[in-house]
């Protein structure tokens, strides 16, 4: 028998894993290189303007002309009043919004003060003091509270006020001003998501009158995805333009942008009737709409593939986190720990306890850092429980896997009930720190939540830590030695019992970390462990015992397949399908993907 050099043997051993890792890495890169997709990703062109705050700070004094126009509102003559309102409406001044609303809804008064002067004011909520009705006053421009000499809010009896009545005609004139100003208020709001939502809403309303406002907002917008939303809204509105050239360019642009919401509008333009009478009167527009729909649909398919991939990877990383501890304990010690799910649950509850401690005894400014402390805390809690379990129970059962399974199941029931009695049977709420909420948009229609990204990162880090502990540390060397040959290790002076305990503690700690991660994405309740334990066992069984690579591969496979099946089969039947696949896989490889090859027969 020719001896193979050790180096080459090693290469062969890691070959499959390396190849898989390479394929997955390549897939990830393809997804994450934003512009490497042949013009699919259209940057929204336009001047990169800083968002200039259109919101004049409240309380600034109105200009002389505005003051005059406001004063004119007191006139009895309907024509003068209308002219004043129109003049004010043309100003596009956000500070005038409360005035318009007050004029339309009632609550705009002429106030003849005691010193004989009269001014236009906005009245607040009418209060009743004994017999008299009292109204707090606000300035007409910007609705700032008016103060009396003592610095208190000015409140005058209703008798001193004369309400300005707006007739139906005037109310009709005011309405567009109010709408326009409200839209402007949200389109130029300091909050980015409000701006985006308002752009999307305007696009859906499809009112051509809002195009100038949107164009103005586009020039001022700095956030890429908000610019995209605004542009999409503009083009959506332009689809119904009277000029066919405008409609055509709008359709093309929508196709380039890949706006899914535009499909109904485009279908109206496209000729769908069999005799060719439907759709847009202009054939070029019809053609452009058809092409745009195709483009958008292709883009949608692509984004769905990307999203499915991401969801698959994210689920895989969760499975991997859960299975790591099991793989260590089961793979290295041959112990089936059915309480593994409950160790995860303890990790999740440790996170909750840490959060409550932060809420109750530390300043609120520190709250967002609780998670950083919760990670090690959950590890410590779960591994402590694991050590206790090993010392009290499992060490009597080495080499009897079925008995261990039953006993640890008993432990899991007791732990569940204990948690139920301490924390209550209902789920507890674990709040994500602000740096884990929200997400990042990498492509049109592809949104990656931060907490999922974090879990993927955590899974990678945990795998690296596990690898380092097992293959690059002194204790790992001992662990592997005990795994391979217990009696020989014992002869060489390794305290095998101690090593067992440490190994078990480490695996349990990994379960705690998994629970901490799970607390960020799902419910934290007494039956958290029950939900996931079967899944994590499936991963270990599929992956095979004694090899980390097997668990990683199995987690990736099961996670991605689950998400690939889910859209067509639903969550339940995709689980069933995966069970069937695992059984079929075990037909070919009875002891998992990566079985330890040996000539000994286990019995």
């Amino acid at each position: 028998m020719a001896t193979i050099p050790a180096g080459r043997k090693k290469k062969q051993k890691h070959g499959i894993a390396c190849r898989w890792a390479f394929i997955w890495g390549l897939g990830l890169l393809l997804i994450l290189i934003p512009n490497g997709l042949g013009g699919w990703l259209q940057r929204v062109e336009g001047a990169e303007g800083e968002l200039t705050s259109k919101m004049a700070t409240g309380g600034s004094a109105p200009g002389a002309e505005i003051s005059q126009e406001i004063a004119a509102l007191a006139s009895q003559d309907a024509a003068t009043l209308e002219a004043a309102v129109l003049a004010l409406g043309k100003r596009n001044d956000l500070q005038l919004l409360p005035l318009f609303i007050a004029l339309r809804e009632g609550g705009l008064y002429v106030w003849k003060s005691a010193d004989g002067g009269s001014q236009i004011v906005i009245g607040g909520e009418i209060l009743t003091q004994g017999e008299t009705k009292i109204v707090p006053l606000f300035s007409a421009y910007g609705k700032q509270p008016l103060l009396d000499a003592k610095g208190q809010i000015l409140q005058v009896p209703l008798t001193e006020l004369k309400e300005i009545q707006a007739n139906r005609n005037l109310r009709k004139i005011i309405k567009p001003f109010i709408d326009d100003l409200t839209n402007r208020l949200s389109l130029f709001s300091p909050d980015s998501s409000t701006r985006r939502a308002s752009a999307i809403k305007l696009g859906q309303m499809g009112d051509p009158a809002s195009i100038p406002l949107l164009t103005e907002a586009l020039a001022a917008e700095s956030d890429r995805w908000n610019r995209y939303a605004i542009e999409a809204a503009i083009q959506l509105i332009k689809l119904t333009d009277a000029d066919p050239t405008v409609r055509r360019t709008a359709a093309r642009r929508l196709g380039e942008l890949g706006v899914e919401e535009a499909i109904p509008g485009l279908q109206k333009l496209q000729d769908t009737t069999p005799d060719g009478s439907g759709g847009d009167p202009d054939p070029t527009v019809r053609e452009a709409a058809g092409q745009a729909i195709k483009k958008i649909e292709n883009w949608a398919i692509f984004t769905r593939v990307v999203e499915t991939l991401f969801r698959g990877i994210s689920l895989s990383s969760i499975l991997l986190l859960m299975a790591l501890g099991l793989a260590i304990v089961f793979g290295l010690m041959g112990v089936i720990n059915m309480a593994h799910g409950e160790l995860m649950m303890l990790g999740a509850y440790a996170t909750y306890v840490m959060q409550q401690w932060f809420v109750n005894s530390l300043p609120a400014s520190l709250f967002n850092y609780y998670f950083l402390l919760a990670l090690p805390f959950s590890f410590v809690v779960a591994s402590g429980m694991g050590l206790l379990l090993e010392r009290c129970l499992i060490r009597f059962l080495y080499g009897r896997p079925l008995e261990t399974l039953l006993a640890t199941w008993g432990v899991s029931l007791i732990l569940q009930q204990a948690v139920r009695q301490i924390f209550g049977a209902a789920n507890v709420s674990v709040v994500s720190p602000n740096w884990l909420s929200g997400g990042i948009q990498i492509l049109v229609g592809v949104y990656l939540p931060y907490n999922r990204l974090f879990i993927i990162g955590l899974a990678v880090v945990c795998v690296i830590i596990t690898y380092a502990v097992l293959f690059r540390s002194n204790i790992g060397l001992k662990i592997r030695a005990v795994t391979q040959n217990r009696s020989m290790s014992s002869c060489l002076g390794i305290a095998t019992r101690k090593i067992d305990a440490w190994t078990f503690g480490f695996g349990a700690g990994m379960a705690g970390l998994a629970g901490c991660a799970l607390s960020q994405i799902g419910n934290v309740g007494p039956d958290l462990g029950q939900t996931y334990v079967v899944d994590s066992f499936m991963v270990v069984v599929t992956g095979g015992v004694g090899k980390l690579a097997g668990s990683i591969l199995a987690a990736l496979g099961i996670g991605s397949l689950n998400k690939i099946f889910e859209p067509s089969l639903g969550s339940v039947f995709s689980k069933v399908a995966i069970l069937i696949l695992v059984i079929l896989l075990l037909q070919a490889k009875p002891s998992g993907l990566f079985a330890l090859k040996g000539r000994s027969i286990e019995n």
Partner: protein, 378 residues
Amino acid sequence: MGKVSASLFRTWLPFMIVALFLVVILPLLNVLPDEGAWYRVSNFSLNLFGKFLAYAILALGLDLIWGYTGILSLGHGVFFGLGAYCMGMHLALSIGTEGVYRSNLPDFMVWNRVTELPLFWKPFYSFGFTLLAVFLVPMLFATIFGFFAFRSRIRGVYFSIITQALALSAWLTFNRNSLNLGGTNGLTDFKTLLGFPLQNPGTKRGLYIITAICLLGAYLLCRWIVRSRLGRMLIAIRDGENRVRFLGYSPAEFKLFVFVLSAGLAGLAGALYVPQVGIITPGAIGVLPSIEMVVWVAVGGRGTLVGAALGAVVVNWMRSFLTTHYPDFWLYFLGGLFIAVVLLFPDGIIGSLRQLHRNYLRERSFFKRKQAALAVNP
């Protein structure tokens, strides 16, 4: 002649006594004494006991596969559920138009806007077909599952985990409304069985007697199997599967046989359970119920058929007592039972008693020898 009668006496007398007690005396105690007499068995107790005896049938099958063949199946709730649902479907169809909605469809279908009876429900109008299905559906399912599992030599812990995943999948599937089996609420509100009203004490007594007879029959069948050469084979597989293989036998067929048989017994248990309890939900077939069944066998004593049946009755008795009196305590108790039975009493009740008996015999023979030696040279 005397020898034959002695062996008959030894083996059959205890069985006869138990059979007489279960089938004749208990129902009589339910009927004859006046209300309020201390030795009267109430209708409720008899019905409850009938449920335990149905569980005991399942435990016999589980003991056959775990206690004798060494295969720990954590998915027997599925087979129990299949049998139970077959019977439940027949009972649901027997309601006829007596339901809440006065429709000839079961109530939950009307509720879910199902207009026509699904095809797979139709044969269950026939009681004969239902009786066949109660056995055949779980057995067929076990055949398919077992064939793939045993063919590829999935064993030990791996088999346990796969069957547990099976229980989880079944539970998830049966919970779905689209399956047309009542979703989470299961099948319930049964009225009659073969025309007998189920709420009637007489009907309940009859069901109890049938259950007891089925249990005795199942026990005899299992005893016959474990005392035959086949039974020796099963024990051999438990104690040294590789050796069996090296001796030229194929363990897979034997394992498949015993798996399918125990699935059939589980189906029978489910079918007897449903009319007595009056409801079957997915909650009875999930992961936790399936693994609880294993504990019945462990508590009674693995590898002793009597122990399995006894364990099922004892554990469920404790369960119904504790869940009514100390509801919070039951899970602690069950968990503790799992641990205790593994660490402290691996032989279970019957096993421990036999151990005591053996010790007593050994002591006695030792004492006798000592006496004899003293008599020879004092």
